[in-house]
């Protein structure tokens, strides 16, 4: 299993102009590694609707790579989105599912099927052309550049040690810039950054 740092730090180092969309347990850690106008936290939002939101961004911005860092509990809420992503043909979307087997934000209660689920198999069955599963940091780090380059949609399952993030708020108490304002404000700012660039 990877630590959250082993998952996120290589991505932050490689990242140039990619859009990165986060949810749940990686929202705060990513916000401490990155301060880009092209980061979007699906926080104070609707659980289970990060991958479909990211698909929309990818379809509207076909010239940019979109990296979606989804949770396994969130993915389980919307497994149909795997079929929608493939059907829509989002060639610039890399969907990463952070598999920690638990609802971290609420205290690491186990997700249904914890330890038995095979997200990579689900993605293959849905028709993803590129599917990867990682549980070792060196192999993940070596593969990452290709995951951000290849013609997608690309699905990446990464086994990660459960963390201890608490509920995510928005406002001045949060350290990262994309959480220090309302979802509405950041959404409009994020859109302007994309449309104006």
């Amino acid at each position: 299993m990877l630590t959250k740092e082993e998952l996120l730090e290589p991505l932050a180092k490689l990242r140039t102009d990619e859009i990165v969309i986060t949810c749940m347990g990686v929202v705060r850690p990513w916000g401490l590694l990155s301060d880009s106008d092209l980061d979007f936290a699906s926080a104070d939002s609707a659980m289970g609707h990060t991958a479909d939101l990211a698909l929309g961004v990818a379809l509207a911005q076909p010239a940019r790579r979109v990296v979606c860092l989804n949770g396994d509990g969130s993915m389980l809420m919307s497994l149909g989105t795997l079929a929608t992503i493939v059907d829509a043909g989002a060639r610039n979307l890399t969907l990463v599912v952070v598999v920690n087997g638990s609802y971290e934000i609420t205290g690491n209660q186990k997700v249904p099927g914890e330890g038995a689920l095979d997200f990579a198999a689900m993605a293959r069955a849905a028709g993803f052309p590129n599917v990867y599963a990682f549980d070792e940091s060196t192999i993940y780090r070596q593969a990452l550049p290709e995951l951000l380059r290849e013609t997608g949609p690309t699905f990446v399952s990464v086994s990660v040690v459960p963390g201890s993030e608490g509920p995510i708020s928005r406002g001045r108490a949060e350290a990262s810039r994309y959480l220090r304002t309302s979802l509405r404000d950041w959404s409009h700012r994020f859109r302007r950054a994309l449309v104006d660039s």
Binding site: S45, G56, R184
Partner: protein
């Protein structure tokens, strides 16, 4: 005035409004429109597996600079409640949601009885559709047929001006 409602007129109205994508699921009322859209190729048609997914996907499209609408049935409107609240409403997305109104014709009479939610001659989804929209603080208008294109245009203007979702209820079959 006749209540003719045609897929062609609705399609032309969406093109005139600058709609880039239609995201949704078909039902009997909207089937002819979906078929027309698939044949025309523009706006782009995006099929989803559930209605809440349509709302989040459309919100993402808007984030990326596109101008989508959602097209779902009122049953799916209920399904999409938290997605509407947490994405389009919370994000301030000027999203027009076209919602076909199953059971509208049964609202008067059986649908107004105290036991409307359980009786066989009423349609429970119609009974709760407008009360739900009001509870969710979503503005809505009716598109009853081809003569209501101006109402549809007003929905786009309201959504853009107030930067929020606006629901357009479609009670009659699109031919």
């Amino acid at each position: 005035m006749t209540m003719v409602s045609t897929a062609k007129v609705l399609h032309n109205a969406l093109v005139a409004a600058g709609v880039s994508h239609v995201v949704g699921l078909p039902d009997n009322t909207s089937a002819a429109f979906f078929e027309r859209l698939a044949g025309e190729g523009a706006p782009s048609l995006l099929r989803v597996t559930r209605e809440g997914e349509a709302v989040a996907l459309a919100s993402g499209l808007w984030l990326g600079g596109a101008s989508p609408v959602v097209l779902i049935q009122n049953t799916g409107l209920l399904e999409s409640g938290d997605s509407l609240r947490g994405t389009a409403v919370r994000m301030g997305v000027p999203l027009v949601c076209l919602v076909t109104y199953r059971g509208y014709g049964k609202l008067e009479g059986p649908g107004s009885e105290p036991d409307a939610m359980t009786r066989a001659d009423a349609d429970s989804v119609a009974v709760v559709t407008e009360p739900t929209l009001r509870a969710w603080r979503l503005p809505y208008v009716f598109y009853r047929g081809d003569h209501d294109v101006a109402t549809l245009q007003s929905a786009f203007l309201m959504a853009a001006k107030e930067s929020r979702p606006v629901v357009v209820l479609i009670p009659n079959l699109l031919e």
